[in-house]
Symmetry: C2
Subunit: 208 residues, 2 copies
Amino acid sequence: MPCEQLRKWGSCQVSELPESMPLGKVRQAALECFAANGFHGTSIRQIAGAAGLSVPGMYHYYTSKHEILDSLCEVAMETLLTASRTAAERPDTPVLERFDSLIRVMVLFHARFSAIAFVTLSEIRSLQGEARVRHIAARNEQQALLNRLIEEGCAEGVFGTAHPRHAARAITAACLGVSRWFRPEGQNTPEELAEIYVDICRAAAGAA
Amino acid sequence: MPCEQLRKWGSCQVSELPESMPLGKVRQAALECFAANGFHGTSIRQIAGAAGLSVPGMYHYYTSKHEILDSLCEVAMETLLTASRTAAERPDTPVLERFDSLIRVMVLFHARFSAIAFVTLSEIRSLQGEARVRHIAARNEQQALLNRLIEEGCAEGVFGTAHPRHAARAITAACLGVSRWFRPEGQNTPEELAEIYVDICRAAAGAA
DNA sequence: TAGTACCGAGCGATTGATCGGTCGGTACCG
DNA sequence: CGGTACCGACCGATCAATCGCTCGGTACTA
């Protein structure tokens, strides 16, 4: 992949996925605590301390611990889904190109925002009531985008996998898995990693 | 894949991966609670109740809540690693066959024992001290098995991926991801799923 | 009898959240 | 202009409930 082409795609990603996700000091503190200890393993006092506030000071901003988690999960899924829709549903664009774009969004998101991606995934079971329902619906929508692309690609002979649905799921899991291990100081930048994953995921879907 | 051949491989798996994992009533109860609520989101009273014991009755068998988790994670990783080593290090066996075997073990393990696999993965951050160190070492060993197979396969021209390490990681994540969604009453048996994943993972690694 | 498998009651510590308050800033009024 | 009222952004102290775990005990079995 020549360097110029990488830069070209890089600029497309900037418009689909933000460079950063402003969380505010309470949510940022909570995110770090949740990533390290889990939602239930994190106390309100830990979050407040990490945010440089007292407990009641923190309750000025959020009415409950659960609201903090819900809020984090929401902004994460909103960010991911918005970018994913843009990538997957680009009009008059060949299916392979849309597939590549979606994979890039997914990998970039999980690398660039690995902490919130990891917490959002691992704390689904701590979400209660409507928050959980909303979250699962968002995940299902995300998965459906990839499902449709691979099925479309198969119908057009672009993808050769005999198992489009399973391949889609495996690809999703591979991209989600990035949030577990990615470190900014590691060997690859998020953008480099996204290109690597495009190759691997194309292969997994049976692209020629 | 003809049915007879599937059965042949099925019988190999029996010798590598057990049909069941006896946990005892305390660990079984804890596993169900941890899967639903997380380690920290599960109280001792919940576990004891689910096991049909009082709290002190439960403490007769395990000295702490953490010991229960550690014990679950240990039996899970031991089971997975034992079977994985057998599959990956079979002497005088072509690399592609060993790769297939390892993928089967990984998928079967995560499908057949999806609850304990899911808890073991999602509660790494709740493991303390030596238990965590041991666990991470086991995970690294597991990953190294697959890394070596793919690298060997690339050296022999069996795999064509330009990114052996990344492909290995993506494949691991895809197999681990099975524990998130697999349901026994779903469309595929664990054995069928294992074969499907062999196809997809071969493709991901760039097998011809 | 000793060992095993439990138990009810209780402990000190911690939890998520609240209460009553202060402080500094801004707006309004006479 | 000075005084008053109000607000947002916090706070120390506290609450009721729950937490992980223990203690002293009982019942059963070989």
